[in-house]
């Protein structure tokens, strides 16, 4: 048995494993759309649902989703939260964040984004302005890279 003076130790390390994912034709086209300030979805020929981000196939009907649709850049908040804590990879200067799920007009289902355009450090203000059911619209960033952050944030429309 370990003697009393030998307090069990721990070893600290950071592990990094590299990966490189293929975006594939569907998501490549979706991200190219963002570069052109377009939000693209695909429509299922069986159930008629339009999903954003675009999908290669309908998860429910399991048929290819080949019909592309440019969807509205405005929608309604389904839900939101207020992130105010740090963890590995997220430092104090990166918070708070107001993540949200938005139902874009004409789209079935919701997709994610961040609320912005006002001082989100003020929680009471956030809680006053951001409501389930509130209307939002996309605000595009000046420089776009075919990346999700090409939409800088979603702005509340009064």
């Amino acid at each position: 048995m370990a003697e009393k003076n030998e307090k069990p130790r721990t070893i600290h390390t950071v592990l990094r494993v590299p990966f490189e994912m293929a975006l594939g034709p569907t998501w490549t086209r979706f991200f190219e759309g963002l570069r052109e300030k377009k939000i693209l979805g695909t429509k299922c020929k069986e159930c008629g649902r339009i999903l954003v981000p675009a999908r290669p196939f309908c998860p429910r009907c399991f048929e290819p989703m080949e019909e592309w649709v440019e969807v509205a850049q405005e929608g309604t908040i389904i839900t939101w939260s207020y992130v105010n804590y740090t963890y590995f990879g997220v430092t104090a200067d990166m918070i708070p964040i107001v993540p949200t799920r938005i139902k874009l007009d004409g789209v079935d289902g919701g997709w994610g984004g961040r609320i912005g355009g006002f001082d989100i450090k003020d929680f009471d203000l956030v809680n006053k302005k951001v409501k389930v059911g509130a209307r939002v619209k996309a605000v595009w960033s000046g420089e776009r890279h075919g990346h999700l952050r090409d939409i800088e944030y979603w702005e509340i429309i009064e």
Binding site: P8, T10, T13, L15, V17, M21, L23, W27, F31, L51, V52, P53, R55, P59, R60, I78, T79, W80, S81, Y82, V83, N84, Y85, Y87, F88, G89, V90, I97, P99, T100, R101, K103, G109, G110, W111, G112, G113, R114, F123, N127, V132, G133, H147, L148, R149
Partner: protein, 388 residues
């Protein structure tokens, strides 16, 4: 389905921050306890099922290799099942199917997590799709807060009423944790404390959130013949259910959580349960967040949709209520993720066999255990009973 299956023994580690032992030793602590509880040795075991959260959580991938000795599986078959947070239920299901299929008679099922070896929230950010989702999801609290908010919005639930109900759940669980010898969090709290605790991810406050725990749980399952031979009072598997939704969490409503509803329906059907609130004696519901438990009370059919806060405030799910939920303190007090769903099952088994000690629900005969996981995707259920 197939052959009848029973739980003949359970074992848990002391859960908490376990820097005092290495990971394999933590596993062994639970395995040994389960053997002792069942009164058998590793020689009686036909096979082992193991599971944990993603390997990256502790930085050892395929850690069933590393744990082979601690799991007592050398020279025997092993399956490793993993379904994210619902792993604890899924590994139990693997063991149950294995015996029901006739391919084995006695199986050791082990789930574990040693969250203090890694950074749980950072690991969780590797679950959502890297280019579509990861940016918006800051670990589990955000996903669950978003879901709570969606639920309140959908049913137009008064925020203060939900807040009060969540606080009652928090108090009930923390009281349970104090009495449960294995629990991680042991604090005496009041409703007031819970309602005013620090905000983590609005509306979730500190006392609405589970801890990060180290711990393991082992459960031994046996076929009908073996169970009757070995065990005086086995806990019989009455029904199981498992369902999963789409990966992109926006694709289906999370306010009316279909996978939880359908998984429980499947289990109730097998168990011949038509009115769960009336027929179940106790439930171990997966509740990493108090608000989550509110939603589950509805999805699992314990009360009508949108009405769980009313029921909770009335004391229906509190000690002495019609269906006491989480006498063990639940995930809210103890959360070694890969083990957490199996701990629910072990606690349910202990309840229906009268082994739950200080947290025993008097005369419990039928118990539900549950776990959920994924990007708000998966729900698994196992119902145990004292009678075959």
């Amino acid at each position: 389905m197939g052959r009848a299956v029973a739980v003949i023994g359970t074992g848990q580690t002391r859960h908490g921050r376990r820097d005092d032992v290495s990971y394999p030793d933590l596993i062994k602590e639970a395995v040994k306890a389960a053997f002792e509880d069942a009164g058998i040795t590793s020689q009686d075991i036909d096979a082992v099922v193991y599971g944990s959260m993603p390997s990256m959580m502790e930085g050892v991938a395929y850690n069933h290799f590393y744990f082979a000795d601690a799991l007592r599986v050398v020279g025997k078959p092993l399956l490793r099942t993993e379904t994210c947070g619902s792993t604890g239920q899924s590994i139990a299901h693997t063991g149950i199917y294995w015996i029901a299929s006739g391919m084995a008679d006695i199986i050791l099922v082990v789930g574990s997590e040693k969250q203090h070896e890694g950074d749980a929230q950072a690991t969780m950010t590797t679950i959502p799709e890297a280019f579509m989702h990861a940016d918006f999801v800051g670990g589990a609290p955000v996903a669950f807060s978003m879901q709570s908010r969606e639920w309140m919005g959908h049913f137009n639930i008064d925020e203060d009423k939900a807040r009060e109900a969540a606080a009652i759940i928090s108090v009930d669980c923390h009281d349970g944790g104090l009495k449960n010898p294995y629990a991680h969090i042991r604090v005496n709290i009041t409703k007031e404390d819970a309602m005013k605790a620090r905000i983590i991810t609005y509306p979730v406050r500190l006392l609405d959130v589970c801890p990060s725990s180290d711990g393991a749980c082992a459960v031994i399952f046996a076929s009908e013949d073996k169970a009757k031979k070995i065990c005086k009072k086995p806990a019989w598997v009455k029904g199981t259910g498992f369902r999963g939704e789409e990966y992109f969490s926006g694709d289906s409503s999370k306010a009316v959580w279909q996978s939880a509803i359908e998984a429980s329906k499947e289990a109730y059907k097998q168990a011949g349960i038509t009115d769960p609130l009336k027929e179940l004696d106790v439930a171990e519901v997966y509740n990493p967040f108090t608000y989550q438990q509110l939603m589950f009370l509805e999805c699992l059919g314990f009360c009508p949709p949108g009405e769980s806060p009313d029921y909770v405030v009335k004391g229906v799910f509190s000690p002495g209520g019609k269906l006491f939920c989480n006498p063990s303190g639940g995930v809210l007090c103890t959360n070694p993720i890969g083990a957490a769903g199996l701990i629910r099952l072990a606690e349910a088994a202990m309840q229906v066999t009268g082994k739950a000690g200080a947290i025993q629900v008097e005369g419990a005969k039928l118990a539900l255990s549950h776990a959920m996981g994924g990007a708000l995707q998966f729900n698994g259920i196992t119902i145990l009973g004292s009678e075959l």
